[in-house]
């Protein structure tokens, strides 16, 4: 992976591949977003006090981190996953996934399309990394007792022997909902409800991108017995799906009619039909053009540049690279590696 993927949230200067000091999000303002999402989408500058360590966590979240030793690490992974993939997905878009829009404003102030995307992405990343951590055996809170006959009454080892241990995804979803506090529908205001919806979209995106795999193990290996499971796909696939949802996001006009009661009804009705209501991202405000921050950005090709540079035009540089290539072992079985150096030139376009 190229190093500039990691430098997320940073204002791009004209020099690529040089390190930039990333600005922290200004505290003390009233944000629309819940602090967990914001905090996870920020680069970790220093460890926070409290068991969650990698994010500025609330009391409830710290309580969860204390109970599950694997959670802080999963949160950290999720935060990194969300940031790198966001930057990767929006490399050649006007919005380069930075939190700042212009000056000291940022995307959390209002519910923009971008805010919706970030919420979905963070929830997806958290679901992904918790599910992954479950299958690594790192999470201690991945439960075993599922449904079935008297499931809740049984101990974990009893349920395991009998055969009621569940899919890892289920734990991932549940822990994510609890961590992002998606379970309770607080205060019933429209913005909070929409953010919750967008996070749900992210969680569902992980589930829909999972691949079905099956193994036949009946008589003589025939399919008279078949076990299927779902495999977590690479997070690239999920991030790409969410990017598509970002383009297809629907703007909802602000209204006071969307009360808690009504949304509850809609959910129940949808549940019956078994079609997930969480397929499209919702936003309230039209996004800024982000044209003021595209100066000096790299673009993919002249077509892309015309959009990205907001009509200011672009400059083309021919850049030379020296890379290690054709790496091989010095002698069979040894750990010593020799590589050649290869020269490569590439046309690169930058916005004026």
């Amino acid at each position: 992976m190229l190093p500039w993927f990691i430098l997320v949230n940073c204002i791009y200067s004209s020099v690529i591949f040089s390190s930039i000091v990333c600005g922290d999000v200004v505290n003390g303002e009233r944000y629309l977003a819940k602090s967990a999402v914001m905090s996870m989408f920020n680069p970790v500058s220093s460890l926070y006090p409290g068991p969650c360590a990698y994010v500025a966590a609330s009391r409830k979240q710290n309580h969860q981190c204390r109970k599950d030793a694997g959670l802080p690490r999963a949160v950290k992974d999720a935060s990194q996953l969300a940031r790198t993939h966001c930057a990767e997905q929006f490399r050649y878009d006007r919005w380069n996934c930075s939190v700042e829009t212009r000056g000291k404003r940022n995307i959390y102030k209002k519910l923009y399309r971008e805010t919706a995307f970030v919420h979905a992405l963070v929830a997806a990343a958290l679901t992904h990394s918790i599910t992954r951590a479950c299958s690594e055996g790192k999470m201690t809170k991945c439960t075993c007792v599922g449904g079935g006959v008297g499931g809740a009454a049984k101990s974990t080892s009893m349920a395991w022997r009998w055969g009621e241990c569940n899919d890892n995804l289920k734990h991932g979803k549940r822990v994510t909902r609890r961590f992002l506090e998606l379970g309770q529908q607080n205060s019933g205001d429209q913005v909070a409800e929409m953010l919750r919806h967008n996070s749900e979209v992210g969680i569902q995106a992980v589930a829909t991108t999972m691949a079905n795999k099956c193994k036949c193990h009946g008589i003589s290996g025939s399919c008279s017995m078949k076990t299927c499971w779902r495999k977590l796909s690479s997070f690239n696939v999920t991030a790409e799906l969410l990017r598509k949802k970002y383009y297809q996001a629907i703007r909802k006009s602000p209204s006071n009619s969307t009360s808690r009661k009504r949304t509850g009804k809609v959910r129940k009705h949808k549940k019956k039909k078994k079609a997930s209501p969480y397929t499209t991202l919702l936003y309230l405000e039209t996004s800024p053009t982000f044209c003021s921050v595209t100066k000096g950005r790299r673009c993919l090709n002249p077509d892309n540049c015309s959009i990205l540079c907001c009509g200011r035009g672009h400059t083309t540089f021919v850049e030379r690279f020296v890379e290690k290539c054709r790496c091989r072992f010095k002698e069979p079985g040894s750990f010593k590696v020799i590589c050649d150096s290869c020269k490569r030139t590439e046309d690169r376009f930058y916005c004026k």
Binding site: R91, V149, G163, D167, C214, S234, V237, C325, P332, V337
Partner: protein
């Protein structure tokens, strides 16, 4: 000469018996649906990457594990990405099974019977290395076990092997700029017994320029193992069913054979076939799995295949002989024996032998090397396909032949039915009754076979849907398995009872010791011209009589 019980049983008694059997059948289905969990479950385990201990390439006493005292330190993905050759030959993928849940260290129970490992590779896309669909990955796999009373580091070697597997990957476009590989799952190992508490799998992917090993597979950054095991609860329910069916079928067989031997004649072919069928079912019902709770029996997978194979082969042969014995146009005087049916049965024999050969090549060899699979080499694949195609052809030939024979039986019956009106009223009622009951049994067979097929298909569909997010009340897959298993037991139980010789016309001293059969039953009289003592069914006697006309 007495007929079979089926012919002498009154309609009322027959319907009571059928009702009882249907209730048993429903019970079997409900036991599977309401009590048993899914037949098999799985755990997805992501391989932790640890740095290899230098020099351990050829040393199978070195084990890397991820939990417990002396665990290895995980290498982070970034560390591997930054390395020039992605730390090839220096890393080990470690899978420690089972993974803990809710902070509890879980262990495999012997009730869980078997363990199947399936590997899933995630390959990073690299423009320089294009993984083609026939790329071969070489896996140095080592499996170790440990028991609860052992210390954390006391892993003992179970099996080791250097295996070659086809990757079968396709590159897919995620977006215009991004590509990814989507790879098929790789079957890795099959353990016929789950005798120990913990298992540990260490996987190395040796890269060797000279031996052209793992050069064209790109950078495998994630390995995920899916460990499939039979659910303990399902084993318990299954074994309980076996424990119930086993003595019942044995008892009914003893009763049947006793009755046959009380006759003045030697047993007829159908009776032999019935007892073979009973024996095959008893072999299948034998609750041998209890022994696995105490002893390590890795051959159980092979044995259960053989047991099922023997049972189905006997059942298929029985149907052929059954149809043949009711052909209605047999020459008199000639005793029928199994060898008369060698042409008919050859399809069953060929099919069974080829499936057995395949099974020995796959699961037989797995006894020596659990990582072995016949499908991984080109020669093996062709050989396996040959066996399976041969078995498939035999199955096709068999079913065509069986259908032809049944069609012939029914044609003969309908031909003879036309001569029924010319008979006396009492005899006509009897004959009609026999034909009705014969058809009834044919119908039962057809229903059983159809239910098996439907059950199989439903089982597939039920698993095709991902319903375990919701709470399902009825575990359909298990219900179909126990239902079908119970159904064949009940079917054979009914066959043995109904085709047992009736003791209606036995000498009085024998009759007095058995239950008195009430006068409500329709007495069956043999045709006066019939003198063949070997017959068991009056239907055949009727048909022979008709053939004389």
């Amino acid at each position: 000469m007495p007929g079979t019980i089926l012919e002498n049983l009154s309609t009322r008694k027959l319907s009571i018996l059928v009702t009882c059997l249907l209730i048993c059948q429903a019970l079997c289905f409900l036991i599977g649906g309401l009590i048993a969990p899914l037949p098999a479950n799985h755990q997805n385990i992501l391989g932790m990457v640890c740095k290899d201990i230098p020099g351990s390439q050829n040393d199978t006493s070195v084990w890397l594990y991820t939990r417990g005292k002396g665990k290895c330190n995980a290498v982070s993905q970034e560390e591997i990405e930054q390395h020039d050759v992605k730390m090839a030959n220096q890393i080990v993928f470690v899978f420690q099974m089972p993974i803990p849940r809710e902070g509890h260290v879980l262990d495999y129970s012997r009730w869980q019977q078997n363990l199947i490992g399936v590997l899933q590779v995630d390959i990073a896309y690299d423009n320089d290395v294009l993984v083609d669909s026939h790329a071969v990955v070489t896996i140095d796999a080592r499996l170790a076990y440990r028991n609860k009373e052992d210390s954390d580091y006391d892993w003992k070697l179970y099996a080791t092997s250097l295996e070659r597997r086809y990757l079968d990957c396709q590159s897919i476009h995620v977006s215009n700029t991004e590509r990814l590989y989507s790879c098929e799952t790789i079957p890795l190992f099959e353990l016929g017994s789950l005798h120990h508490d913990f298992y540990l799998l260490n996987i190395r992917l040796p890269v060797d320029t000279d031996m052209k090993m793992n050069l064209d597979v790109g950078h495998i950054h994630d390995l995920q193992l899916t460990a499939i095991y039979q659910n303990g609860g399902f084993t318990k329910v299954w074994l309980s069913l076996k424990t119930i069916f086993f003595p019942i079928v044995v008892a009914i067989m003893i009763w049947f054979w006793h009755r046959v031997h009380l006759l003045q004649r030697s047993p007829a072919l159908i009776e032999y076939m019935l007892i073979y069928l009973g024996l095959a079912l008893t072999f299948l019902n034998m609750p041998l799995e209890y022994l696995t709770l105490a002893f390590d029996m890795p051959f159980m997978l092979l044995l259960s295949d053989i047991r099922q194979g023997v049972f189905y082969a006997t059942l298929l042969s029985f149907w052929l002989v059954f149809a043949g014995e009711h052909m209605l146009i047999q020459e008199t005087g000639k005793r029928s024996a199994v060898k008369n049916y060698w042409k008919h049965l050859s399809a069953v024999v060929v099919g069974c032998i080829s499936l057995f050969a395949f099974d020995v090549c796959e699961r037989g060899v797995q006894l020596r090397n659990p990582f072995y699979s016949i499908w991984t080499s080109r020669v093996g694949t062709n050989l396996a396909l040959t066996f399976i195609v041969l078995a498939g052809i035999s199955a096709g030939v068999y079913f065509l032949f069986l259908c032809y024979m049944i069609w012939k039986v029914f044609r003969n019956i309908s031909l003879k039915q036309s001569s029924l009106p010319s008979m006396s009223a009492a005899r006509r009622i009897h004959y009609e009754g026999i034909i009705y009951r014969f058809k009834f049994l044919m119908l039962a067979t057809l229903i059983c076979a159809a239910l098996t097929v439907i059950g199989f298909i439903m089982g597939q569909i039920a698993e095709g849907h991902w319903k375990w997010d919701e709470n399902i009340e009825v575990q359909l897959t298990s219900a179909f398995l126990t239902g079908v298993y119970g159904m064949w037991n009940i079917y054979i139980f009914a066959l043995i009872i109904l085709y047992a010789p009736s003791h209606k016309q036995w000498p009085t001293e024998l009759n007095s010791s058995n239950e008195r059969i009430a006068s409500e039953e329709i007495e069956f009289n043999n045709l006066p011209s019939d003198s063949n003592p070997s017959e068991i069914s009056s239907l055949t006697s009727f048909s022979r009589k008709a053939a004389f006309d």
